[in-house]
């Protein structure tokens, strides 16, 4: 077995390294991705080994980064773009939504857009404004994009490989508060499809669905609930667009109850779509409405309040109680 224990950030780093090694068309672009290795060191050492032509420190202009990445993709490159923090993707939003997402359809399939946009996202690290947001729904609503988020190092490694190999643009949300969490990564394992959800814990009483940073929380919730004699199933969605509804549906048909957990605001967050669609699919199975635990409809608060804002063990357990009370 080639498995090796490593932190999530390191797993992405190694995955990028592998891509740079195996395909000369792969490029890394972004602010401070070179000598600094990115503010989270995800690109650490890559410029040193692959040169400034392939690991490119760009001007401080996100629209420019994504716009030139589109041009490079048109020329046959496969750029992997880093956005430094979630809150700084918006200057690039126009290029992502009106150009990157639509180019393939606009050209009737003649042009491919193999661009990966890496976005460290989410809260829990005590940062200042714009450094803790979860804007994934704003991308998932947009056709032409694929949106994924790994929850652990092994997925981080493999999903990055798959994202880079995809001929569609992939928005790759990195759970920044889990960057330092370690897990076994088997670099020779043959991974399942990029967009498949995975049942990470089996249970019979209720299903918790989450992705990225909230998967770990949901596992902790399941542990806590088990102590109270409740058997929770945890589904790691892994992909936010598309969502693997079949896997959720199978789980809900068994447990008859579903709670979706994400850091993003509940209102029009991914949980809304999951609730709506699973309710359609499982109308006669559900014993309680699909509940959602997430951020509030307010700007992400200052760091000293983020624990109040973010879903935590108690809030999810509270939702579990409410669901089971139906």
């Amino acid at each position: 077995m080639a498995a090796e224990k490593m932190a999530l950030a390191k797993a992405i780093n190694e995955s990028l390294r592998r891509a740079l090694e195996s395909d000369p068309k792969v490029l890394i672009m972004g602010e401070d991705v070179g000598k600094l290795g990115g503010v989270f060191r995800v690109t650490d050492g890559l410029q040193k080994d692959f040169g400034e032509d392939r690991v490119i420190d760009t001007p401080l202009a996100e629209s420019g980064i994504v716009g030139t990445a589109i041009g490079l993709a048109l020329r046959g490159y496969r750029p992997v773009v880093e956005i430094q923090f979630d809150g700084f993707v918006f200057p690039a939003y126009d290029q992502i939504v009106t150009q990157l997402a639509k180019m393939h359809a606009r050209s009737l399939g003649k042009v491919k857009m193999p661009v990966v946009i890496r976005i460290p996202y989410g809260g829990g690290i005590g940062a200042v404004e714009h450094h803790s947001e979860s804007p994934e729904a704003l991308f998932a609503h947009v056709a032409g994009l694929k949106v994924v988020s790994p929850s652990n190092a092994a997925d981080a490694y493999w999903m990055m490989q798959q994202a880079i190999q995809s001929d569609d643009p992939v928005i790759y949300f990195e759970p920044k508060r889990r960057y330092w969490d370690k897990a076994e990564v088997d670099k020779e394992a043959i991974p399942g499809p990029l967009h498949a959800a995975r049942v990470v814990r089996e249970g019979t009483d209720l299903t918790l669905a989450a992705y990225g940073p909230m998967v770990k929380l949901c596992q902790e919730v399941a542990d806590a609930a088990a102590e109270e004699g409740r058997s929770l199933e945890v589904v790691d969605l892994r992909s936010i667009s598309p969502v693997d509804f079949d896997t959720i549906q199978a789980s809900v048909e068994k447990t008859r109850r579903l709670i979706v957990v994400h850091e993003a605001p509940v209102f029009l967050g991914s949980g809304a779509e999951i609730a709506a669609r699973i309710t359609e699919r499982c109308f006669y199975h559900l014993e309680a409405p699909v509940l959602r635990v997430g951020g509030y409809h307010a700007p992400y608060p200052p760091a000293r309040l983020e624990e109040e804002y973010l879903p935590d063990l108690d809030r999810v357990l509270d939702a579990v109680d409410r669901s089971l009370a139906y």
Partner: protein
């Protein structure tokens, strides 16, 4: 021309109107030099922006059809050298390109009137800027147009009827950009300037020696993306030529609403040269673009060309220019017509005879007829095309919705007993 009060009026009337000629230059090293005064700078640059006087233009063919600028001591001699040995045959070719492009354009406008197209964006008046620059490109160069570059498409060998699909509403521009190295039309103003720059960065990485040309309008120059493209191109020394067709109008807004100084000057602040060329002069447009592409291909980085021209018609067929501009402006520009001046030259230099013009007239008719026929025969797309190319590698939700859509469609078939 319409003038923006907000832009013109100093908040205090005194002092800021003194004349001067060194305006922007004074700011060249460390701002306007002490003593020469800031007030001068302001009013001067303003004046320059408003005049856009002919003398600033690179011109090689006058409206009267006279070749100029060829003298060794001409300020434009370097550009002129790029068309010094142009042959009569090539000149006739440029003329033919312009005439056929104009004819195609007129046909498309007519087809819109007849309801065959939903919209048309005419290039009327901009033929020289487009044919001149388009003919300066090499086969391995890559072109990023906006939505009005029908003449450039012509030069790249794109079948003109391909351009009509998006205006008819059957696709969003579905030609293969890589067949002719002519990218799709881009409607979101300014976006393609960055794509062009990225593409050019890729050329550099490949060690290739082709160039890229990005088209956009005077209005587009205001978009942040265009400035970012200028900066990326400069920083990476990318082989990209920015070709701004300043047709004086962005829908209803005249140049003064977009910029305080002539647009070609924008380049300088990013560290590469900018040139204003007479965009109604096909020779000058050809020469300056050759110069710019040449230096780009040689690894000397980007350049900005401002082709000073005029949108003779409406912004699009949906537009009504009488609401915002006077007809005499158009009339004045008609005297500088790009086709007329080349014809005058061809005739006076005896480079073309009646037979040539007659033959071209016939060719025009044939083109018009073909365009009409092709458009009228253009089928509506299959309804499943909605889902067809949303993704390259497939997407479960699209599959699900396509299946639902199919079932829904089938329910009609059932109902109709088919």
């Amino acid at each position: 021309m319409t003038e923006s009060t907000a832009a013109r009026k100093p908040r205090r009337s005194a002092g800021s109107k003194a004349a001067g000629t060194t305006g922007t230059k004074a700011a060249g090293t460390t701002g306007s030099k002490a003593g020469t005064g800031a007030q001068r700078t302001t009013s001067t640059t303003r004046t320059a922006a408003q005049k856009g006087s002919e003398t600033e233009l690179v011109q090689l063919l006058t409206p009267e059809g006279e070749r100029v600028g060829t003298a060794k001591n001409s300020p434009y001699a370097e550009y002129a050298s790029y068309v010094a040995d142009i042959t009569p045959d090539e000149l006739r070719g440029l003329y033919r390109d312009m005439v056929l492009t104009r004819r195609f354009d007129a046909e498309a406008t007519a087809l819109q009137r007849q309801g065959e197209l939903g919209l048309w964006a005419s290039l009327l008046g901009q033929e020289a800027a487009q044919i001149g620059s388009g003919r300066a490109t090499r086969e391995d160069d890559y072109v990023f147009p906006t939505y009005r570059e029908h003449g450039v498409a012509w030069c790249r060998g794109v079948d003109p009827t391909n351009l009509l699909g998006m205006f008819r509403g059957v696709n969003n521009g579905g030609w293969d950009p890589n067949s002719n190295n002519f990218h799709l039309y881009t409607i979101v103003i300014g976006s393609q300037a960055l794509h062009a720059t990225g593409y050019a960065m890729g050329i550099t990485k490949d060690g290739a020696d082709s160039g890229v040309i990005a088209y956009f309008g005077d209005g587009a120059s205001s978009q942040g993306d265009v400035s970012e493209a200028f900066n990326f191109a400069a920083v990476y020394n990318a082989p990209v030529v920015f070709f701004c067709q300043n047709n004086q109008w962005a829908i209803s807004e005249s140049n003064e609403k977009q910029t305080r100084v002539p647009l070609y000057q924008r380049a300088q602040g990013f560290g590469f040269p900018g040139v204003r060329v007479d965009g109604n002069d096909v020779l000058a447009s050809l020469a300056v673009t050759r110069w710019a592409l040449d230096r780009a291909r040689r690894g000397e980085g980007p350049a900005l060309i401002e082709a000073y021209t005029y949108r003779m018609g409406a912004h699009t067929t949906s537009d009504d220019p009488s609401r915002y501009r006077h007809d005499d402006e158009r009339v004045a520009w008609e005297a500088k017509d790009p086709i007329l001046r080349l014809r005058r030259f061809l005739e006076s230099a005896h480079h073309a005879d009646e037979g040539f013009f007659a033959e071209l007239e016939a060719e025009s008719e044939t083109l018009g007829k073909r365009v009409r026929e092709v458009v009228r025969a253009m089928p509506d797309p299959d309804r499943f095309a909605i889902f067809e190319h949303a993704y390259a590698d497939g997407h479960a939700l699209v599959d699900e919705e396509r299946a639902q859509f199919a079932a829904y469609q089938a329910s009609f078939a059932d109902a109709e007993g088919v």
